[in-house]
């Protein structure tokens, strides 16, 4: 979906709000993190293909996911491949693509609307970093979760390559870009959103993958030594006491105006 291009920029890049001291990383570590990102991007960017599901249900893959703490139910591990593909397509649509669900889109999560500032901001970031969005089976917004995760994966892979090549400048540039992206975008919404999906999902596949997403995000933010407020929060209900209005929201209907009978 999100393809890297060999485009670099000389634009001065402002530092993120909080920059951690350099941490010891290896190319292997970076590639492993990128791999998790790619996996999660594949899960959330569109309905899983039979091939993707087959690969995920391979014994080795299942074992590694279990070791990571994921506990899939029989609806994932024991289902007929065709039925599984179908049921996950329906669950994906219900959760992410139909009216009344939770679009996995940063603009929606942070502003309540599609195609708002985050959409255009990340589009600009991708362009600047030499990435472009290609059409998959369905249209996706640039600030869709799977696309943002793909971008992070691309940056991590770039860091790994730079590190392997001892290209310090390139590594620093990618690393700064990565941190900035977590601070400015993904980190703002993905943790609360993951908790929400974990609660709302009926199928164990999305429940567990949402858990993995949340824990991965927490771990990444910690590894990068960033401090980012979770603006999404994934709240079910906002208490009235937290709603700021310039009048009394408990006012009876029609105001019960003085003099009304």
């Amino acid at each position: 979906m999100l393809n890297g291009l060999a485009i670099e920029t000389e634009q001065p890049i402002p530092l993120p709000l909080l920059v951690a001291a350099p941490v010891e990383v290896t190319p292997e570590d970076l590639r492993a993190r990128a791999g998790v990102c790619r996996l999660l991007a594949g899960v959330f960017v569109e309905e899983p293909s039979p091939e993707f599901l087959s690969a995920l249900r391979a014994p080795e893959a299942l074992r590694s996911l279990e070791e990571a703490g994921l506990r899939f139910d029989a609806d994932f591990t024991g289902a007929d491949p065709a039925e599984l593909s179908d049921s996950l397509s329906i669950e994906y649509t219900t959760l992410f693509a139909a009216s009344g669900g939770f679009p996995p889109v940063e603009s929606v999560r942070l502003t309540g609307r599609y195609q708002q500032e985050p959409h255009f901001a990340v589009k600009e970031i991708y362009k600047r970093a030499g990435f472009e969005l290609q059409k998959g089976r369905f249209f996706v917004f640039e600030d869709q979760l799977g696309v943002e995760l793909s971008f992070v994966a691309g940056l991590l892979e770039g860091c790994a390559a730079a590190l392997a090549a001892d290209d310090v400048a390139q590594f620093r540039w990618r690393d700064r870009e990565l941190k900035r992206f977590w601070v400015g975008h993904l980190g703002k919404w993905v943790r609360g959103y993951a908790r929400l999906i974990e609660r709302a999902a009926e199928h164990s596949f999305y429940r567990e993958m949402a858990r993995l997403l949340g824990e991965f995000a927490e771990a990444e933010i910690a590894a990068l030594r960033l401090r980012i407020d979770d603006q999404d929060k994934g709240k079910l209900v906002v208490p009235k006491s937290e709603v700021k209005v310039a009048f009394n929201p408990d006012e009876p209907v029609c105001g019960a105006c003085p003099g009304s009978t």
Binding site: I90, V108, G112, Y114, T261
Partner: protein, 878 residues
């Protein structure tokens, strides 16, 4: 010489006597004015935002608007100052229109139903998959009978694309929403003077009679007309008298609000006509020259309709009727406006005609400040065009309603259930009958859930409305800010053409409707061998618009579509004057409207080959093109005989009274003391169903307590906020009361647009019907401070059909209202299908084929009965 003493009184005299001179005196110092729109700037960067002229389509007024786009998204909408009708103003609904585009509940992909209908389980599919399935279903239906393919359209502004589509398929089963809108107003007017609506010249009127129209807030053309009403009041000291069951803001703005019992406006209008004719206040010359009756015939017809008679029926004092009638007849110019108040009743067509007779008999037709014909402009359709269907459709042109030229679509579920016409594929476009029609989910919901009656249901929609939630497949349509559409509306005295153009690319995989229709046809006829593809030869929406606009004389020279893309509207009559807010010419004077359209004389070229009949009708090539009066050849009115038909002979063929008359609703005459009339109304920030998803509007108005008069409330022991139970013949509901003097004591009235059970999170205040999908997960909903979404009354409103115009009798429902009991809870609502069926059967008895028709028309005793008339396909009164 002694100088006269100057006193304060002298100043006042001088001031009063020199008003005109002061107005003409040069003024060099003016207060600084801001730009009256057309430009917008980012408040931080001060960069000018991109301005794209569009035509608004939140409701159906079609205001000229501008979308300001910044970084690819619409950040603001405002009025287009170049638009002659709306003059830079846009209402609250129009200002909030971008919410449709960015709504998180918008449907962005084709969705295929995977559970039971209405269960809410969907699977996202590709366009290829969706088109293949739709084409396969249509193909199968075509092989059986093209008429088994039906569409029901609501706010269709495609400019002819839907007609092209159904004609391409060869289906005549085209249904609309007009019978729940204003069809009896149209059918009252069309056979009388031609068009289906009037254009009152409020700005120049001295006196206005307003029957049942909330001009300032919700009626047709409320934005342009409310501007003119305000000008008339402020600049012209115009008097307005409003007859309405409710103290709307228009009634409150009026000089007099006269509460009237529902459905009796026509009786009041007839009684006013009686006074005018009795006292010889009519315009005899106009009547004798421009109508098909004499003054004597009119006087004879109006004789029984005395103010005392009308007073007993309507509750309006006879002396008020006398006074207002004389004021109206003796104040010139005067005009009149109606909307749903008179028309949405069992005999709404009669009511409408009775009202429009007042400006006719006083000669206030096509005069400055009077009651004018609508002015609109057309556009050509791309060629080649498909031929029409080979056979008529029962549902589209029901034989029991031959005069209802705008259909009787709200009775369709009963006709389908009775097997009057088979349906294989049913489509909806911009139409949500499960919410907006009488019976709502109890009738339409039941119909759509029945897979035997509706085997395959396609919804073309951008939002998950109550109807779309029951579909088998959803094709994602674009909201108005992403569509190409031609426009023209007669919403002022200056005709115009406009365009709606996308302000950015469609979101997701939504497609504008005309492109979707083209894609379906191309799937059905990929190689053109079926002869369908040839009618759908356009690259995209813009290309289609070029075919509409690029060859219109005048517009072509101005640049055709290019001009419209830059300005949004054509022609541009002048410039918006910042001081007056009016469109003015180069000299600063307001542009003048043209009056007396019927008195335009035919040219010699027009008359070449024409024949003048005995009655003065001028015909050419078998078509009436004008009328000869006083030795001159005029174009006359756009009726079959080019005059105003006070007597509509066609109505008499079906046993209806051809002259202005009134029929009281029989079940209103037998109401019990504790019964009331249940009516509904629209608020100024909502339309029927689609604004519930617009947050700014939902924040302003989101619940809908029932209006009730203090006298009634006292009897019931109810105060504002208390729960009341409302029972009708088809069901019951429980809602909150709002006690106010602003409602007739015998009426309980509930605003619509609330109480949605679908239409997204904002309308329903929930996400999915499962615990985890609780309520306010998305960030913006954190600001939703209200938790009352209202209660929708349509489930308990039975169908009523005007046997002439086909309109739903929205305001004919008798209801029993009581204080809610211990088992009643807020939001309870239940409608019963069987009881709705009984109501349907009852209303069919008033059709010209029904057993009550003759009883209701004793004055038509000589009529030969239904067997004496030949059924005419298509109905229509014109």
């Amino acid at each position: 010489m002694e100088m006269p003493k100057i006193t304060r009184r002298t100043f006042l005299k001088v001031s009063a006597g020199t008003t005109a001179a002061v107005a003409a005196a040069p003024r060099l110092l003016n207060a600084m004015e801001q730009e009256l729109g057309g430009k917008d700037f980012n408040p931080d960067s001060l960069a000018e935002r991109k301005a794209i002229p569009i035509t608004c389509h939140v409701c159906n007024i079609q205001d000229g608007a501008i979308a300001f786009v910044e970084n690819g998204r619409v950040v603001k909408l405002e009025g287009n100052p170049e638009h002659v009708s709306t003059r830079g103003r846009l209402c609250a609904k129009g200002n909030a229109g971008m919410w449709y585009s960015y709504d998180p509940d918008r449907i962005l992909y084709p969705l295929k139903r995977v559970g039971a209908r209405g269960e809410g389980k969907w699977k996202r599919i590709t366009w290829d998959e969706a088109l293949a399935e739709v084409a396969q279903k249509l193909d199968a239906a075509l092989k059986e009978d093209p008429n088994t393919i039906a569409v029901k359209k609501g706010r269709d502004r495609s400019g002819g694309a839907w007609g092209r589509f159904m004609n391409t398929l060869g289906s005549a089963t085209v249904l609309n929403h007009t019978s729940v809108c204003e069809s009896s107003k149209k059918i009252g007017m069309e056979p009388t003077w031609g068009p289906d609506i009037e254009t009152p010249d409020f700005a120049n009127a001295k006196y206005v009679l307003n029957f049942g129209s909330n001009i300032l807030e919700a009626a047709y053309f409320h934005n342009p007309l409310s501007q003119r009403v305000t000008e008339g009041r402020v600049d012209n000291h115009m008097k307005i008298v409003t007859f309405d069951v409710r103290l709307s803001n228009t009634a409150g703005f009026s000089d007099e609000w006269i509460p009237v019992f529902p459905g009796t406006d026509g009786a009041v209008a007839l009684a006013m006509g009686h006074v005018i004719l009795r006292d010889n206040l009519q315009d005899t010359d106009f009547i004798e020259t421009w109508t098909n009756v004499t003054v004597k015939e009119l006087k004879d017809n109006y004789k029984p309709y005395t103010p005392e008679w009308a007073s007993k029926i309507s509750g309006v004092p006879a002396e008020t009727i006398e006074r207002v009638a004389r004021e109206f007849a003796t104040t010139k110019p005067a005009t009149l406006f109606t909307y749903r108040g008179p028309a949405k009743h069992l005999y709404g067509s009669y009511n409408e005609r009775s009202c429009m007779m007042l400006p006719i008999m006083t000669g206030n037709i096509e005069t400055r400040g009077g009651y004018c014909l609508p002015r609109g402009m057309g556009w050509p359709q791309p060629n080649p065009q498909p031929p029409g269907p080979k056979h008529g459709s029962y549902l589209s042109t029901p034989p029991d309603y031959p005069l209802a030229g705008h259909k009787v679509s709200h009775l369709v579920p009963f006709w389908i259930a009775e097997g009057k016409q088979k349906i294989n594929v049913y489509m909806t476009y911009q139409d949500n009958p499960v919410y907006t029609n009488p019976g709502a989910r109890a009738v339409w919901g039941r119909l759509f859930k029945d897979e035997k009656l509706i085997p395959y249901y396609i919804s073309m929609s951008s939002h998950m409305g109550e109807e779309t939630a029951l579909a088998d497949i959803i094709l994602p349509d674009c909201p108005y800010l992403e569509r190409w559409e031609p426009e023209s509306m007669p919403n002022s005295l200056w005709p115009w053409l406009g365009v709606r153009q996308p302000v950015h690319a469609s979101l997701g995989e939504s497609r504008e409707n005309r492109v979707m229709l083209r894609d379906i046809i191309h799937k059905l006829d990929p190689d053109g061998k079926r002869g369908m593809k040839q009618f759908w030869n356009f690259k995209d929406g813009e290309d289609y618009m070029k075919q509409h606009f690029d060859n219109i004389p005048g517009l072509k020279e101005a640049g055709g579509l290019k001009f419209l893309k830059e300005h949004g509207v054509w022609p541009i009559y002048g410039k918006l004057d910042p001081k007056s807010g009016k469109v003015t010419d180069k000299t600063g004077r307001e542009i003048k409207a043209e009056y007396g359209l019927h008195k335009k004389e035919l040219s010699d070229a027009d008359m070449a080959g024409a024949v003048v009949g005995k009655d003065g009708v001028i015909s050419k090539n078998g078509k009436a093109i004008g009328v000869k009066r006083n030795g001159k050849n005029y174009v006359g009115f756009p009726t079959g005989n080019r005059v105003i038909n006070v007597r509509v002979d066609q109505w008499a063929e079906y046993g209806f009274n051809p002259m202005p008359t009134f029929k009281r609703i029989p079940w209103h005459e037998t109401m019990k003391e504790d019964e009331m009339i249940l009516s509904t109304f629209k608020l100024n920030v909502h339309k029927q169903s689609r604004t519930a998803a617009v947050k700014w509007l939902a924040e302003i108005a989101h619940s809908n307590p029932a209006w009730m008069n203090p006298v009634t409330a006292k009897k019931l022991g109810v105060k504002t906020g208390d729960l009341v139970r409302i029972e009708t013949r088809v069901g019951h509901m429980v809602t909150k009361a709002y006690v106010t003097e602003g409602i007739h004591p015998k009426v309980i009235s509930i605003p619509t647009a609330f109480g949605h059970w679908e239409y997204g999170r904002l309308a329903t205040l929930k996400l999915k019907d499962k615990p985890a999908f609780g309520g306010t997960e998305d960030a913006d909903l954190q600001n939703v401070w209200w938790d009352d979404r209202g209660v929708h009354p349509n489930d308990i409103i039975p169908v009523v059909a005007d046997p002439i115009g086909g309109s739903q009798g929205w305001y004919d429902t008798v209801a029993k209202v009581t204080k809610a009991g211990p088992n009643d809870k807020y939001g309870d609502i239940q409608g019963d299908w069987q009881k709705h069926v009984e109501a349907y059967k009852e209303t069919m008895r008033y059709a010209y084929t029904g057993d009550l028709h003759r009883k209701m028309h004793p004055e038509m005793a000589s009529w030969g009965g239904p067997e004496s008339v030949k059924h005419k396909a298509g109905g229509g009164g014109h």
